[in-house]
């Protein structure tokens, strides 16, 4: 439904987007991640037909965004960054205008407007000028505008930016609900959002794809993903180390320096599986006092930082070699 092939955008000498190749199919909600300035918004603007690609091509439902832009735009719902709106119009007037542009007439228009107002819960503020609305309502008007014509493809640039937790939840529910029948790209900084709504995550850095996979597969890049994390009092540390030597190879055991009278061990996963049962059994058999024991999932934030942070600023436990993806960028690594 959405195809990008070597998509590039250069602003003078700056390569904002550099050879992006990606395909998003129906039923996929793609989380588009990356630090500020990585090229997320530029990519989305090219897909929406606001910017012309410098090189490469992109297509929405088979229609090239540059040469068949009107056909592509008809099949696309787009929420621009910051959700710009005509502030002096009322919600009702604005949505009515969008419906007219999208080709709805007469009774069909009234019906569609009623549906969309209901979907994004705008009923209370319909007659108010958009300028007077809160940020949450404005963002919802932006979403309503993008979803009004029930497009097969949605491109949403930071749809939950600036919303309160309840509103974020509502917007995520909306996106998840639509995800089954549409191809959706959502850009975000909020990594929990990726886990809660996206079926796939793409991390871009400096205009290139740095990683592509499910949230789970991104987490698996962390060396400590699925490792057993064991915290024992400093006095029991040596005994615990003996036990761990029995259940895992020495290379798989990490011992961190004592802090606050506690020592933390990591037992790295073997072939993806956490050796939790073996560790627990060993500790129990030797009656070792345990402060806490659990499986470390790792945090997407760490993957994100490992992939996009400059050298020297990487979080503990990750290194560029370990975190670098094997098949990044579909051959554009």
């Amino acid at each position: 439904m959405i195809v990008m092939d070597g998509l590039s955008k250069h602003f003078g000498p700056v390569r904002a987007v550099d050879g992006l190749t990606l395909a998003v199919d129906k039923g996929e909600v793609l989380g588009f991640l990356g630090p500020n300035g990585a090229g997320k918004t530029t990519t989305m603007r090219m897909l929406a037909g606001f910017l012309e690609p410098s090189r490469g091509r992109a297509a929405i439902c088979g229609f090239d965004v540059a040469t068949e832009s009107i056909a592509a735009k008809r099949r696309l719902g787009y929420l621009p960054e910051g959700a710009p709106l005509y502030g002096d119009m009322t919600c009702a007037a604005f949505l009515s205008f969008v419906a007219e542009i999208r080709g709805y007439r007469g009774a069909a228009r009234r019906q569609r407007l009623a549906e969309i107002v209901d979907t994004v819960a705008l009923g209370d503020v319909l007659e108010r000028p958009i300028d007077t609305l809160s940020k949450g309502y404005k963002r919802r008007v932006g979403l309503a505008q993008a979803m009004l014509h029930d497009p097969p493809v949605l491109i949403l640039d930071e749809p939950t930016d600036g919303l309160d937790p309840n509103q974020k939840h509502h917007v995520r529910e909306l996106i998840r609900g639509m995800g089954k029948e549409k191809a959706i790209i959502v850009s975000t900084h909020i990594l929990e959002e990726v886990e809660s709504v996206c079926t796939r995550a793409v991390v871009i850095a400096q205009g290139r794809i740095a990683a592509d996979g499910t949230a789970e597969s991104l987490l698996a890049r962390l060396p400590r993903h699925n490792a057993v994390r064991l915290v024992v009092p400093a006095g029991a540390a040596d005994a615990a180390a003996m036990v761990l030597r029995d259940v895992a190879t020495p290379q798989a055991v990490e011992r961190l320096p004592a802090a606050d009278g506690l020592v933390t061990f990591y037992v790295l996963a073997h072939e993806g599986a956490a050796p939790l049962a073996a560790v627990a059994h060993g500790l129990h058999a030797h009656s070792i006092e345990v402060d806490s024991l659990g499986v470390e999932r790792g945090r997407l934030d760490d993957v994100f930082r490992a992939l996009t942070a400059p050298e020297g600023a990487r979080p503990e436990g990750t290194s560029p070699e370990e975190a670098r993806p094997g098949r990044a960028g579909s051959g554009h690594a």
Binding site: F50, Y78, G87, I101
Partner: protein, 244 residues
């Protein structure tokens, strides 16, 4: 075509959403009447004609039309709504025409509100209503040409004040190019062909022939082609600069 209508409708409503539209109309009516009666000597001439009224239109439009048109694209760019508009399934040409038509309709409404002038001369005497109608058509066309220029200047910037100044400047050049003072200067440095070319671009000379009641096809073609040319330029500029 439908999208042109939708955009024009939205734009026209936007004009009346703020007091600016009403202020503009009041200023236009007040100043045009004041110029006619006090500067033009409407009563002193003791003639049932509106030529003193129309004579001042180019000078009035010089400032008022850029004031109407300055927001056309500059505001879209400033608020970022240009991204919304240009990612709708609408061609840039349709958007440019829709916005232009809305502003032009607004000016037409302001012109129509000067009808009391026309009623006055009809009560006081027997004017040549054909000449007056021709003058209204000429005035509207000239306003359209000024507006198309302003639309183009508005597409160049995100600052409405800059758009106004650029618009007024270019409109001023096109108005003044028919004045003898300017032509004298051009004559001193350029061959006769250039002088004729400059003179023929003057809004003033084309407008004055129309207000004399002579509807020459060349004058109509001049204003219409001015509108088409500047709107075409607007389209190119909007397309080239929308993302900047």
């Amino acid at each position: 075509m439908r999208s042109v209508a939708a955009i024009a409708k939205r734009e026209l409503v936007a004009y009346f959403a703020t007091p600016v539209a009403y202020v503009f109309i009041i200023i236009f009516l007040a100043v045009s009447a004041a110029l006619t009666f006090y500067v033009g000597g409407f009563f002193e001439r003791r003639q049932a004609a509106l030529d003193t009224f129309f004579t001042f239109h180019p000078w009035l439009f010089l400032f008022l039309i850029p004031a109407v048109g300055m927001r056309l694209w500059a505001e879209e760019r400033k608020t970022g709504t240009i991204e919304l508009l240009t990612t709708m399934p609408v061609t840039t040409t349709a958007a440019v025409i829709g916005k232009f038509l809305a502003a032009w309709a607004f000016i037409a409404a302001a012109l129509a509100l000067t009808a009391p002038m026309w009623l006055t001369v009809n009560i006081l005497g027997e004017p040549d209503n054909g000449v007056i109608l021709a003058s209204y058509v000429g005035s509207l066309l000239m306003a359209g040409a000024f507006l198309a220029i302003t639309s183009c200047m508005s597409a160049l910037t995100r600052n409405q004040v800059v758009a106004f100044i650029l618009g007024a400047t270019v409109c001023f050049l096109f108005t003044m190019s028919g004045v003898e003072l300017v032509l004298e200067t051009v004559r001193a440095i350029a061959p006769a062909a250039v002088v004729d070319a400059v003179a023929s671009l003057s809004f003033l000379s084309h407008f004055s022939t129309i207000t004399k009641g002579v509807i020459d096809l060349r004058d109509l073609v001049f204003f219409v082609s001015m509108i088409v040319f500047w709107l075409f330029a607007t389209t190119i500029i909007v397309n080239a600069r929308k993302g900047l």
